[in-house]
């Protein structure tokens, strides 16, 4: 527990965030360049789907991040409810819009891909529906955050909501195994090794690293911004009460 609370001090965290932020940005820029280059030029076109399969290099990492961000939010919410860690709130709140954006990106890219491949923009398939529910959960979380004047209450209420909504994450993950869906089952991470050829797997993994680095970068920016905004607020209050 001592380690967890070491960074409860915002000043110490701000210093660390200042170090992480440029590195995350560098990793993001490097891997998105390499990843997109590989996705467009070195990875082969799919023998059935042709060039349109390349949208996978954005779609799959975005969908992973959508679930990853919600998991981060739920864990951070649990930490903030149990240990009252001051940064857990801030990180959960900062993660929500990023996760919502990734969820939307994965739905949008999937829909663009679905039109030529499945012949429809949208099907009410278990995977698609549960991801749509995830988007609603993100929106509900953000709405609840904004609905209170008291920030401590907003943080607590939305932390409980994030934990309740977490039931949806395993449903999304296993929806393709439990139900017979139009969406293809997991192929990258599964028992008995990946069923994707290395020439496609590598750009996918590099894109996944790029998305993760992007997340870390934006998270640092948002958390620093929020902590600084808090400081400004406290200084203003001091000014008002003092003078």
């Amino acid at each position: 527990m001592a380690d967890l609370h070491r960074f409860a001090n915002p000043t110490r965290f701000l210093k660390l965030a200042g170090i992480i932020q440029p590195w995350a940005l560098a990793v993001f820029l490097l891997s998105i360049t390499v990843g997109l280059y590989m996705a467009f030029f070195t990875a082969p076109a799919d023998y059935q789907q042709g060039e349109s399969a390349r949208i996978m290099y954005v779609h799959v990492p975005a969908a992973w991040m959508a679930m990853f961000c919600y998991t981060v939010m739920a864990v951070a919410s649990a930490v903030s409810l149990i240990w009252k860690h001051p940064l857990a709130d801030v990180s959960a709140r900062a993660t929500a819009p990023i996760g919502a954006a990734f969820t939307f990106l994965s739905l949008a890219t999937g829909s663009l891909w679905g039109k030529p491949m499945w012949g429809t923009w949208w099907v009410w398939d278990a995977r698609l529906t549960s991801v749509l529910v995830l988007l609603f959960l993100y929106i509900g979380y953000m709405a609840l955050q904004g609905a209170f004047d008291d920030r401590v209450r907003a943080a607590k209420a939305s932390a409980i909501l994030a934990l309740v909504g977490f039931v949806n994450v395993p449903i999304i993950k296993f929806s393709v195994d439990w139900w017979n869906t139009l969406h293809q089952p997991a192929s990258v991470i599964k028992m008995g090794g990946s069923s994707i050829h290395p020439s496609m797997l590598w750009p996918l993994l590099i894109m996944a690293i790029a998305f993760k680095a992007y997340y870390v970068w934006v998270l640092m920016v948002r958390m620093r911004q929020e902590l600084v905004a808090n400081k400004v607020r406290i200084l203003r209050l001091k000014q008002v009460h003092g003078g």
Binding site: T129, G140, A143, A157
Partner: protein, 221 residues
């Protein structure tokens, strides 16, 4: 247990003394369903096809409408704080209030549902299953809703916010509720869906009071 029963009776008394209030939920339920024949046309085949879905969606919406009152009145007049201070665990208090809520808003829906099923030209094979599915499903709706109702206490725009929080969580109940009825009408197996609905009920019965009590605690701080 005695306190639990007392609390349920208190809430029921309050609801009945207000007369029309709890009846309004059923009226909304009926009107919402009756709108559909005007919307999609009175053709019996079409109505019969969508009957189960429409009744379930209307049941979801009317349960949700009544949720705002679940804790709000007690929160406003301060009796919620007294309930929290009593020797009864807050989880049991939540369970008692949910029970009263289900009796005043879930049960009337179940009574009204067969009449609406007739109006919607639903095949008579589906009636029993519809009632059983609603019996198993509506308690879950009240239980899940209690979490949302506790979370929005003291917020701005409570009602609209509540729908955004609760409706996504209602989707599983809707899916299995409708597919049980459609299965029975189509002559397929429907026991599995009913068992899943029962499973949801037991799961939410075990977990929702904790989350709801957590929500109330942070609201009362």
């Amino acid at each position: 247990m005695k306190q639990f029963v007392f609390l349920v009776r208190r809430d029921l008394n309050l609801a009945f003394r207000q007369g029309m209030d709890s009846l309004l939920v059923v009226v909304f339920f009926i009107i919402a369903v009756v709108l559909f024949p005007f919307g999609v046309g009175p053709e019996p085949g079409t109505l019969a096809r969508i009957a189960a879905g429409v009744i379930w969606v209307a049941a979801l919406l009317s349960t949700m409408l009544s949720l705002e009152r679940l804790f709000q009145i007690d929160y406003d007049d301060g009796s919620l704080e007294l309930l929290a201070l009593s020797s009864l665990p807050l989880e049991v208090t939540v369970l008692a209030k949910v029970t009263a809520h289900w009796i005043t808003s879930g049960l009337p829906l179940i009574v009204a549902a067969p009449v609406l099923a007739v109006l919607m030209q639903m095949d008579s094979d589906g009636f029993m299953v519809l009632i059983v599915a609603l019996l198993l499903g509506t308690p879950s709706l009240s239980l899940i809703g209690a979490i949302g109702a506790a979370l929005i206490l003291g917020s701005r725009r409570g009602g609209v916010l509540l729908s955004l929080l609760v409706l996504p969580l209602y989707i599983p109940v809707l899916i299995f509720g409708v597919s049980a009825v459609d299965g029975a009408i189509g002559g397929y197996e429907f026991k599995a869906q009913l068992l899943i609905l029962g499973g949801f009920f037991i799961g939410t019965l075990a977990l929702a009071p904790w989350a709801g009590a957590g929500g109330l605690r942070q609201a009362l701080e």
